[in-house]
Amino acid sequence: MKFKILICMGTSGISAGAEEVAKAFETELKRKNLMDKCKIVRVGDRGLFRDPLVDIITPELGRVTYEYTKPEDVPQIVEEHLLQGKPVERLRAGKDYEQFFSGQMRIVLSNCGEIDPEDIDDYIAHGGYDALKKVLFSAPEKVIDEIEKSGLRGRGGAGFPTGLKWRFCKEAKGDVKYVVCNADEGDPGAFMDRSILEGDPHSVLEGMIIAGYAIGATKGFIYCRAEYPLAVKRLNIAISQAREKGLLGDNILNGSFSFDITIVQGAGAFVCGEETALLASIEGRRGTPRPRPPFPAQKGLWGKPTLINNVETFANIRHIIVKGAEWFSSIGTEKSKGTKVFALAGKVKNTGLVEVPMGTTIRELIYGPGGGMKKKRVKLKGVQIGGPSGGCLPESLLDIPIDYESINQTGAIMGSGGMIVMDEKTCMVDIAKFFLNFTVAESCGKCLPCRIGLKRMLEVLEEITEGRGKEEHISFLQEMGNTVKATALCGLGNTAPNPVLTTLKYFPDEYEAHIRDKICPSHVCTELVKFEVVEEKCVKCGLCYKACPTGAIEWKKKEYPRINKEKCIKCKACIGACDYGAIQ
């Protein structure tokens, strides 16, 4: 058997220098005449940001993982590990790496970081296209039954039962039907779809082909975000390789079913993730949503019945077909089956993509794979889930299970699965303002509640964070928030008030501090920060002095720092650097 060297090369790996590491391995293996004995495999990202990550697999030692590998480490790894059979201990991934993966159940991500996404044979060697082969021998009706029985629900946010959507589409009248994969992933804080497309593109293609067979479509589109060039590149490679193998195109596997896929690139508009806006964009128009019904399953692209599913939804399909609906529905809770991938980020120790069974609690996720808070001393204040449509939950709600219903009850939503951990340095009013800034900028302007209602709410939040808040602002935000939710045209407006409403509900004292006392307890809202050192809290460490880019902080060892207001540009670098909250 050959030695295998896996190098993680998604966007994260590449930006951390994984290509240089791969080149260093090539040079070193050539120098030591080991090229025939070793195989370098450029795999996708594995979801943990400790790049460049390198796995060495040998018969004697099995798999050994190295993290933060640098090109200059490579000669030592080749010499000691490959030639002498002794792993280089100082570079090995440690406890955090193990903890990150041991708490997960990887189904959708099972191939990410394991196979070469640009090589269809590697995918096939890992059971790829088995599901398609199985499906082509059974009736389309049976396929839909299986997906329905599995209990799979859409991973794009709303959680609509996938099997039911497929059935509607199959039953819709029309000679031409389309399958569309929603890869617009615009939610700031979510990147699972990108990792799947970069790390295992064929799994999405396979899901789409099976869907096409089930509903009777011959044409598919992948609507991919413009900001994901690597995903587009790998999808293009995957599509042409699948065509060459007769898995895509006319008469798939020499049968009577034909199906082909085209990639459409988005042009930078969050609202295009909404399904009716997405269809308008594929048709070459401004991406504005329209009222439903008719649903895309009845009248979609160019007026034809169209099935729209999310990337992660499609990536689940092949596993359900191969392992069966019963297996899938044994994972998760009563109403939410299978796993969900979360993008864990913020003030947590291990950031990255975490796949866990539905029903896992938020606490288990953060303190299991997440490894707890990045700085032990710092307290967790809240967790933001679901991005701009979601909400901020306080520490006391960390024990709710992750499933569509439980999360909805809190006022947040599952959304695409972004999960940002926040500590005392995060101001909840500022976070609400941050999300509204985003949704106001991304509102398409078609319906009045979203266009004007959100804008008024943002203006009020600006007043509050700039020290001009009034008592009546709180009831205004509540009333306007509920009105926009109830009356906006599409999901953007229907959910955009959630970050405001949940922070009002769970962190009312922060709003009160801004409005009544004109202070920002987290020292984030610039207008409310005095930029003064609080001597009782200061430990004279000088970190603020080192962080200041304009030399506005005067400090000597064992003395309190002083901030020169003339030079200070209020960039808050000092506040970010201080672990003791001593600058206010």
Partner: protein, 157 residues
């Protein structure tokens, strides 16, 4: 400045046969010129028998399109949630202050354009700044300050 429209003509010819491809056509125009020149819009409108306003409707709707030339280097500061929590806003404010331009603008000397992006999907490396196609993770104000200086010195300024 005189715009060479022969490339616009070539691109229009490639796309004129297929329906629904106005957005990819404009994307290619932008990839060729770095922005979408007014002259190209007028030519496309004439050749495809549509009103320029329909094209502008699309150009101004999607954030990706530019109607003015860009700086030599484009700085994108990620304003995703994770970057925001980790200090991305402070970095954007600092750069805007340092370069003397707001987001969406280009410095007078044409070296830098400054932009915000909603999320680059590298949340684990937050806060993230991208200059051209190079990603810089775990940024601090001092780190981006040094980066800008490096680019300036390469420009000989």
């Amino acid at each position: 400045m005189k715009i060479d429209l022969s490339n616009t003509r070539k691109i229009i010819r490639q796309y004129s046969e297929k329906k629904g491809l106005l957005i990819p056509l404009l994307q290619e125009i932008q990839a060729t010129y770095g922005y979408v020149p007014k002259e190209s819009v007028e030519l496309i409108a004439k050749e495809l028998s549509i009103f320029p306003v329909e094209i502008y409707g699309i150009l101004t709707f999607y954030a990706q399109f530019y109607l003015t030339p860009r700086g030599k280097h484009t700085i994108k500061v990620c304003q995703g949630t994770a970057c925001h929590v980790m200090g991305g806003k402070e970095i954007l404010d600092y750069l805007s202050n340092k370069l003397g331009i707001s987001e969406g603008e280009t410095t007078k000397d044409g070296v830098f354009s400054l932009e915000r992006v909603a999320c680059l999907g590298c949340c684990g490396m937050a806060p993230v700044v991208v200059i051209d196609n190079n990603f810089y993770g775990r940024c601090t104000i001092q780190k981006v300050d040094a980066l800008i200086e490096k680019y300036y010195s390469e420009e000989g300024k």
